[in-house]
Amino acid sequence: MTDPVPDAALGVRLLTDMLRVRRMEEKCAELYGATKIRGFLHLYIGEEACAAGVLPTLTEADNVVATYREHGHALLRGIPLRAIMAEMFGKASGCARGRGGSMHLFDASRRFYGGTAIVGSGLPLAVGLALADRTLRRPAVTACFFGDGAMAEGAFHESANLAALWQLPVLFVCENNLYAMGTALARHQSQTELTAKAASYNMPVWSADGMDVLAVHAAASEAVASVRDEGGPAFLELRTYRFRAHSMFDPDLYREPAEVETWKQRDPIPGLAARLRAAGALDDARLAALDAAADAEVADAVAFAEASDWEPVADLLTDVVTPASGAGTGGAR
């Protein structure tokens, strides 16, 4: 039994997005095992509907602030997979020239502000970006993604307070995957209804099924419209689940396999595919073609990353500060 698909074209597009993210990350896991990708690698597999549902509701003028589980957001914000893959390889052609890695993907031209790995640290940043837009009278929205774990950080509360107090255009997107690393929601939140916390700061809240990209899209559209129209912040909770461990370092001992299996039954990709088939918007050949295209994009990116050069060690110290800074307005006084 499946829900109907109100907009088949949108559905196919979102399915395509999710597939691209899924195939990319499956390759990432493989490359991690092959030691091509190192460091921390946090996979988004299972949660693709969140990024895929929210990002299409934003415009190019809007800002995106993401977490360290941001490969999907980066890709769907438009950063070329080549640049993402090269970054994970640590190559000079990466979207942060090899300085960031998996957790720190950036693209100024797409207003993609990272890629930050201190839980909650992106929230004050997003408030500031929104403050700048408000001050400069730019009608932009800043979408800030974070997890349920960040809701325990002071940064969330300070940022929610500031954004509501100053009526700043921030869309707070909480990807609630039920675990703060390995600690279950009920073990880290006194109030597990996360929308209640946000609502206490006097902002409108939405909550959607994060395993249903169309539901995410619908809720995000409303929330973004609210921010844009009302000027103040909004909070969107996406109840989701990651199928894989927190990171490649995580033995995943804190979850029952059965729980993971139960959630996998709700995998957003086959779920949407089935609905699109039912709606006659997708057949095997189309699906295979989408899959093949995603695979090809990944293969191309891996080949690109492999072939790319390393940043010369001689350039180690570049971009710490702006060249020739410190000149001030005169000499030492």
């Binding site: 408030v127 307005t329 030492a332």
Partner: protein, 322 residues
């Protein structure tokens, strides 16, 4: 013209607010209250709540908002009441502002200016009196400056606002009432400055310790020791050339730093000299720092904990073998 350090900071801020609509001042009680050190008194009425933005007691939040606003195209001047409070915002300064340019492969600069009061001497106790400049000076990606003269108080803010990267300005609480004649205040944020030339020993210092170092040099001069006083001005990046040049002239060095000695900037200065100028040294360097104790409240104890003119004089005499 003659003005106080406080008036110099105020004049610099006022000028910047008038000159550039992207500039705004944000912090706790900077607006209606007028600033905890009265630096922004009257600005709220003149520039309005958007330009003079009173922030809730959310150092992490509003300093981070300053970082974000800088990324978003504004020129925020964020005021943190004291360096002790800045620890609540350390994440945004150290993990975000300082690294964004590098971590993004050069795509994002963060032109935020963060001002904070530092130092002891006002009997404010162990949570409002510390000198943690070295914590920030440790971090690549930040530019850390300490105006020690009224001219620098006037000049460093516009220079900082001209920077494409984050600048942390430390204003020593003991300096706000200092009055000096100020001529041309335009300055860079690169070079140290010789505040008193001398030939026998270099006293290297910064910020609130500069007046003490100059007083010590005057005392020493009457005793036949001609001390050079070098004001670091910029704590990151250190002007190592100026430090080395001075020591190559005098062959002796005493570093005065209100921070604690362990892990101090003074230690960094001395270590740099050991690396670069060992064979120019004619005596082991000395550091005059704060006693290794949280700054106590009682006046006599606070005084005893801090670098003193007498302590500087004694250290100089020791390295001079006098």
């Amino acid at each position: 013209m003659r003005m106080s350090y406080r008036e110099a900071v105020r004049a610099a801020l006022h000028e910047a607010l008038v000159a550039d609509p992207r500039v705004f001042l944000m912090g706790e009680d900077v607006g209606r209250y007028g600033g905890s050190y009265a630096v922004s008194k009257g600005f709220y009425d003149e520039f309005g709540p958007e330009r003079i933005r009173d922030a809730p007691l959310s150092e992490l939040g509003f300093v981070g908002a300053g970082v974000g606003a800088a990324l978003g195209g504004l020129r925020p001047v964020v005021e943190v009441m004291t360096v002790n409070f800045s620890l609540l915002a350390l994440d945004q300064i150290v993990n975000m502002a300082a690294v964004y340019r590098h971590m993004s492969g050069g795509q994002f600069s963060v032109p935020v200016v963060i001002r904070m009061a530092t130092g002891a001497g006002r009997q404010l106790g162990a949570q409002h009196s510390h000198s943690l400049e070295n914590w920030y000076a440790h971090v690549p990606g930040l530019r850390v400056v300490a105006p020690a003269t009224v001219a620098d108080a006037r000049g460093m803010l516009p220079a900082a606002l001209a920077e494409p990267d984050p600048v942390v300005i430390f204003e020593h609480v003991g300096l706000y009432n200092v009055e000096e004649e100020v001529g041309d205040w335009a300055c860079d944020l690169t070079h140290a400055a010789v505040r008193r030339p001398g030939s026998d020993v270099s006293i290297v210092t910064y910020g609130g310790s500069l007046p003490k170092a100059l007083a010590a040099a005057a005392t020493l001069a009457s005793g036949g020791i001609d001390a050079e006083v070098l004001d670091l001005r910029v704590l990151r990046p250190l002007d190592r050339e100026a430090i080395a040049a001075s020591v190559r002239r005098t062959h002796r060095v005493v570093v005065v730093d209100e921070g604690w000695k362990t892990g101090s900037l003074a230690g960094e200065v001395v270590a740099g000299l050991a690396e670069e100028c060992l064979y120019d040294l004619d005596a082991a360097p000395r550091r005059v720092c704060s006693a290794e104790v949280p700054i106590p409240y009682a006046k006599h104890l606070e005084d005893a904990a801090l670098p003193s003119v007498d302590g500087i004089v004694a250290a100089v005499r020791e390295v001079c073998g006098a």
